[in-house]
Amino acid sequence: MKLFNHLRNLNSITTHHHRILRNRFHPLFNNIKFFSDSSSLPQQQTTTQAKQQPLHSSLNRNELAKFASIAETWWDSEGPFKPLHVMNPTRLAFIRSALCRHFKKDPYSAKPLEGLKIADVGCGGGILSEPLARMGATVTGIDAVEKNINIARLHAELDPTTSTIEFCCTTAEKLVEEGRQFDAVMALEVIEHVAEPAEFCKSLSALTVPDGATVISTINRSMRAYATAIVAAEYILRWLPMGTHEWSKFLTPEELVLILQRAGINVEEMAGFAYNPVTGRWSLSDDISVNFIAMGTKTNKTE
């Protein structure tokens, strides 16, 4: 219990820690490491800003400034976002096979997602949006950090195939208000930063057309995840700044399935990501005790 409070307090004094940590980084990395969830941190902050005011306002500005300062490095595959770049192909492998199965597309085609409208919620620099566009999908990427959207737009414009991606600096809730709907909605590494996961899932569900797909990836609330994703990743290997993740906000797969069900989404497929420290590669596995990804389909019943 003490540890949880300790972690919660850490969140508020993170800025001080970062200055100290700068000198003690892991020799392999020379800067702060972020997973894609870090870009969603401010998203959570801004959605809750309306509810919790000045207590987090200074933190928000600092957090946003921090992300903004390293935003240029999103696409530097050797830079601070390297772990995300390394994990990306594995996530895409799951998404590709799950969506091909669900939408009955040819898995051997070079553009299997042609004709599908996909939303990438919490897209960051567009690391997930671009491959989806190359696979033929019509992608809309949203993120709450303006700088991320700018970077994403600029990078996507370099390649004619990805220049058609629509990037918006907005939130899932606002998109729902606009009445947008998509064949598939992706929210990878976002839900562990959202203040109210159940509400967030309802928004994702509202964005999905009936019989569409929703893909969510997050970290399991297990002891093993605490040891690897928090202690190892944040404190020992320094892949993430300390306090990025709050263990108490992780969801177990059962909980995720339940809140998705309540939002009208039936989870059909689930897989885990396993990291091999020797080869430095991620692979899909049945082990959902740390990182896991789930694909669900929206039931046809109306709200």
Binding site: V86, E130, L132, A133, R134, E157, L158
Partner: protein
Amino acid sequence: MNRVIKKTVSNLCAHKISRKFFCSEIVKVATSPDLVPPNEHEKKPTISQIIPEYDIAIVGGGMVGMSLACFLASMPLTKQLSVAIIDSNPALGSGLSIKKEDPPDPRVSTVTPASISFLKDAGAWKYVEQNRHAYFKKMQVWDYTGFGYARYDAKDVNKDFLGCVAENKVLHSALLSCVKDSDFKTTFYPSRLTSMTLNTNSISTVEENMPPKEPSSAQGHTSKLQLSDGSSIYAKLVVGADGGKSRVRELAGFKTTGWNYSQNAIICTVEHTSDNHCAWQRFLPNGPIALLPMGDKFSNIVWTMSPTESNDRKSITEEMFLKDVNSALDYGYGPHPTSSSLGTGDMFSWLKMDATLSANEFFEIPPKAIRLASERMVFPLSLRHANSYASKRVVLIGDAAHTIHPLAGQGVNLGFGDAFSLSRVIAEGIALGSDIGEVNLLRKYEAERKPANITMMAILDGFQKAYSIDFGPFNFLRAAAFNGANYISPLKRSIISYASGENKLPIFF
């Protein structure tokens, strides 16, 4: 509209019509105001020069470069890619024709079973079988000291053949025909690569007041290649398959490690009175001589020796050369090994329960060469290895990445292995929507091929050094090694599997 123009230009290039002529024609068409409205949000500039863009540019259309094109053409995920092949050989565009009556070319390669299976899967092997080629089932290796010999047979590993020898032009034309017969989009550029620039983008410097429609940023995902005939192309991925003196490797700044062997190789073709079905290799004091069957009573000779000797042997008369060759293969330099020399046969008799068929075979004298059937060519030998195979938008395959000693006939097979591995990595990248020039993807190819290539090179280098020492006890050790390889069946099977390309690393036992 620009895209249509671009397609037309590339189609026309494929028919080998001068690009410049059409470029100027099309420029006139495009600058007419109704086709390119000034307010149109276009990525490409309102043209001064249309530069075609390709997914992959293969620099070097030799055996390994064409094999990459062939492998890409044969997979569903990659066959929609557009490929430019840059090679100064003008014959590539029209196709290489081979007539049966052509004299045998001295440039041949031994293709291992693993490479044959790659080529069969890609649909290229059937073209090889239409021309002169020779499968061989047996191999004999011995040295001049007469202390030992080793015979290898395909039946030792329950296979039909140990390898196949074919002229390079046969292999090359087979791969070319395979690519042309498929509906894979390739465009040949008969010129040389002069320069290559990576279009990097500096996102941080581009703010709201970015100059509109800057052409370089639109091509930020490609490399620009400039060719010696003045044309340029853009490509998402540049593959350096341009041989040991690779220009791509030089331009991309890859450092190499290596050294020159103080040896040259003489190659030529000889004729026998009857067909030769076995591969022979004898290690002489100055280097090995190999006799490889080519089919139609011809055999190819690869004779490694010191540079002075090679210049001598190139200039002496044909008769004298033939005498030298026969002497080198037969009684010159030392005695024949006797079939059970040093009584070592008994030493290993406890292993005979699992004996290979060839362990019981007697030593045979190679067939005599009766006529020289081609000119003699001399090549210097060296070992060279690029320190890395991949960087942003550039990757090396084949001899551009590694050159080795010809003594085990592995050179082009490593190249085919590289091309196969790269084609699979590219397919995987396309499946997951990655940018094929992304360095992390290319590193996967490097991680797969580098250990295998380096191991092979190290082993061959070891052999080369081991056989260049003429010293009593050392000779005895080598002889013991020969006999071990001949009689210790598991070892022999491992050697054959490794040389056949079935195992990538020689993990014995």
